[in-house]
């Protein structure tokens, strides 16, 4: 049974609808990441789970219990805020113990719990300081300590790392992942950073303008995006989206794509795919940069590798890989080559297209057609 269940959730501020029919379900011990561009309603969704915002309609269940009308303190949750929200007039120890104090836990037990959490997060030496005397990373740890100390059923994080510098952010990301693994807690985590989403999540929910676009494992979201928005939002560099036309090549479907100067490229679709569009239809081919490689670097297990020669427009060595930009169908197409592949700028080079990993979208709606 799902541990966190959200059914047909709607939220509006006056006439403005912010969340439009969200359905989610999450197993116990999972790590759910809500991801999407700024203003899409991630924080609002998290706040409705927390009970800090009321909902207009729908249902939220935590551990099988409907919590719609429960106050935040009755939902057995803890939350880490983007600004950390440490109480400025209290010491670190008082900050961490505040939730326990409000729940009338006796002082000796509180002290013990604070000491344990301080040990886990290595903030023992900071306990008597005020928040204003801490660095950003230390505040972040204290904010997590305040959530951990109550041992709630559900942890909610609202962009907890977005105020940290790049290096610290990566460190804290690893630390959060480690905490999740060792404590086995259930977490809902908001971020606008798709890399954070991919690295942390067991399940990702992609939101846009208050609509849930896709809900699935990181692999599903990455390899099998339901529409061009998800395909483009997740992954760095993002999925190549190239306009073309659906054609029949023998008995199988293929995509024909315009190429500067020469005849169109015809890329066959793997024949185990169901194609829901008729031939002759305009489509958008979606293919990840790592599915376009130098010929020797192609995936040996792939059944459908097509060789295409294109002129290289930009070559960007990035250490471990080299990104090569070519033009196809009037778009820049990024290929990800091994760093030792011999690629020359402005020369015609052979690329291996792994069509097993290609997907097709409808150009008008952006939805998947294959």
């Amino acid at each position: 049974m799902a541990f966190l269940e959200i059914n047909r959730l709607e939220k509006s501020y006056g006439a403005m609808s912010v969340l439009k029919g969200i359905n989610l379900a999450m197993e116990e011990g999972g790590f759910l990441v809500l991801v999407g561009p700024s203003g899409c309603g991630k924080s609002t969704l998290l706040n409705t789970i927390a009970g800090l915002e009321s909902i207009s309609s729908g249902e939220i269940k935590i551990a099988g219990r409907r919590v719609n009308d429960r106050r935040p303190s009755e939902r057995d949750i803890a939350m880490v805020f983007q600004s950390y929200a440490l109480y400025p007039n209290m010491t670190v120890a008082q900050n961490i113990a505040f939730g326990l104090e409000m729940r009338k836990v006796p002082k000796p037990e509180r002290d013990k719990a604070v000491a344990e959490v301080a040990e886990t997060l290595q903030i023992g030496h900071l306990l008597n300081r005020k928040p204003s005397q801490l660095s950003g990373g230390q505040r972040q740890r204290v904010a997590m300590g305040r959530a951990l100390v109550r041992k709630p059923k559900l942890f909610l994080f609202d962009e907890p790392l977005s105020n940290l510098d790049a290096k610290l952010r990566v460190d804290m990301r690893t630390e959060i992942k480690r905490l999740h693994n060792s404590l086995g807690t259930t977490i809902v985590y908001v971020t606008h950073d798709q890399i954070e989403a991919m690295t942390l999540a067991t399940k990702i929910a992609v939101l846009k303008d208050g609509h849930l676009q896709q809900f699935g494992t990181p692999a599903e979201i990455y390899n099998d995006p339901v529409n061009t928005f998800v395909a483009d939002f997740m992954g760095s560099p993002p999925m190549n989206l190239v306009p073309g036309e659906l054609v029949m090549s023998g008995k199988a479907y293929a995509v024909a794509i315009e190429r500067d100067g020469t005849a169109p490229v015809v890329l066959p679709i793997a024949n185990d795919r169901t194609v829901v569009s008729p031939a002759g239809q305009k489509v958008v081919l979606g293919i990840r940069p790592e599915a376009i490689t130098d010929v020797d670097g192609a995936d040996r297990n792939a059944k459908n590798v097509i060789r295409v020669s294109c002129r290289t427009e930009v070559v960007e060595p990035a250490g471990s890989d080299t990104f090569v930009v070519t033009r196809l169908g009037g778009k820049d197409v990024v290929a990800r080559m091994r760093s030792d592949a011999a690629v020359k700028l402005h020369s015609t080079t052979d690329f291996a297209y792994n069509m097993d990993r290609a997907v097709l979208f409808d150009p008008a709606s952006g939805n998947r057609v294959a």
């Binding site: 706040n47 927390a50 800090l52 106050r71 935040p72 303190s73 949750i77 803890a78 939350m79 805020f81 983007q82 600004s83 929200a85 440490l86 109480y87 400025p88 007039n89 505040f98 939730g99 409000m102 729940r103 928040p131 204003s132 305040r146």
Partner: protein, 298 residues
């Protein structure tokens, strides 16, 4: 131009040409200080002189013979009401009025500000607008309705009546101060406390109040000064036993019988002004700081 160049070239020189405007600045400031201090000076010197010296025409000079008798007379001998009690009982009336009035209006203003910023409800802007509007209603307009209400409540002519009037009239200002201050107070702190299980009032006095020092000082000074110095409400709504010191002072100065004892009047006026002076001297530096600071550092 040359002067400026030489300043830059020789900044460590002691006879800097910059000192000329400096001198002018100080001269103007001192002039203004004298201008404002002169009335106080006259009051103080004449309150420690025998009446005969004032009648002799020496208002501006220091007393030839120093005496505290006028102060003592103003405090507990002067004829104000039926009995010659001095200002003493009325001073006490003012204290009994100002302390609860300031405390209640400040606490209510803080609660209003808290609700209007952190527990917003539909129509909160209108409510705030109406409270702001209350700040601009002239005293005179509300005199008669207020008298009616005090009469209906059965507290006309009492100190309780005056407290109520001052609380209600001050609420617009105190709400304005606290609302603007709490507007800048991070809402995430309130939300964090809600998740932590703190109640409405717990959040108020454990999270917001400890960070409200500067604005409390501003509000208390503002309210104290206004309520203490108020004359119109005091004159309109206080019976003979509830008269605040401002009204008593007026009666003392305007009493038509006998010789005018100017030295006693000066001493009485100083006595009436003393509490507000003390409040400013003690809390004045926080006042400016409070007016300047908005956000809470965290």
């Amino acid at each position: 131009m040359t002067a400026q160049v030489s300043t830059i070239a020789d900044t460590r020189s002691e006879s800097s040409p910059r000192s000329a405007p400096r001198v002018l600045l100080y001269a103007v400031l001192i002039l203004f200080a004298i201008y404002y201090l002169l009335p106080l000076f006259i009051m103080v010197v004449n309150s420690v002189k025998p009446l005969s010296e004032i009648q002799g025409g020496n208002m501006l000079s220091l007393p030839a013979q120093w005496t505290l008798e006028p102060w003592q007379k103003a405090w507990n001998e002067a004829q104000i009401g039926v009995q010659a009690t001095g200002l003493q009982p009325y001073f006490l009336n003012s204290i009994l009025m100002v302390v609860p009035a300031v405390a209640i209006s400040t606490i209510l203003g803080a609660l209003n500000g808290y609700v209007l910023t952190k527990y917003r409800f539909p129509g909160h802007k209108i409510v705030f607008g109406l409270m702001l509007f209350a700040c601009f209603i002239p005293f005179q307009i509300v005199l008669i309705p207020t008298a009616r209400i005090l009469g209906t409540l059965g507290i006309a002519g009492t100190i309780y009546g005056l407290i109520l009037v001052h609380v209600v009239y001050g609420l617009g200002f105190t709400t304005l101060y606290f609302r603007n201050y709490y507007e800048a107070f991070p809402t995430e702190l309130v939300r964090a406390a809600q998740v932590d299980g703190a109640s409405f009032f717990k959040i108020f006095y454990r999270i917001l109040l400890p960070s409200s020092g500067p604005i409390i000082v501003v509000t208390v000074i503002w309210q104290f000064t206004n309520v203490w110095n108020d004359f119109l409400f005091g004159a309109s709504f206080s019976g003979p036993n509830a008269m605040p010191i401002t009204v008593a002072l007026n009666n003392l100065v305007n009493s038509s019988t006998g010789v005018k004892e100017y030295n006693v009047h000066f001493a009485g006026a100083l006595l009436a002004a003393l509490p507000t002076l003390i409040v400013y001297i003690v809390a004045g530096r926080f006042f400016v700081r409070g007016l300047m600071s908005g956000a809470v550092k965290g």
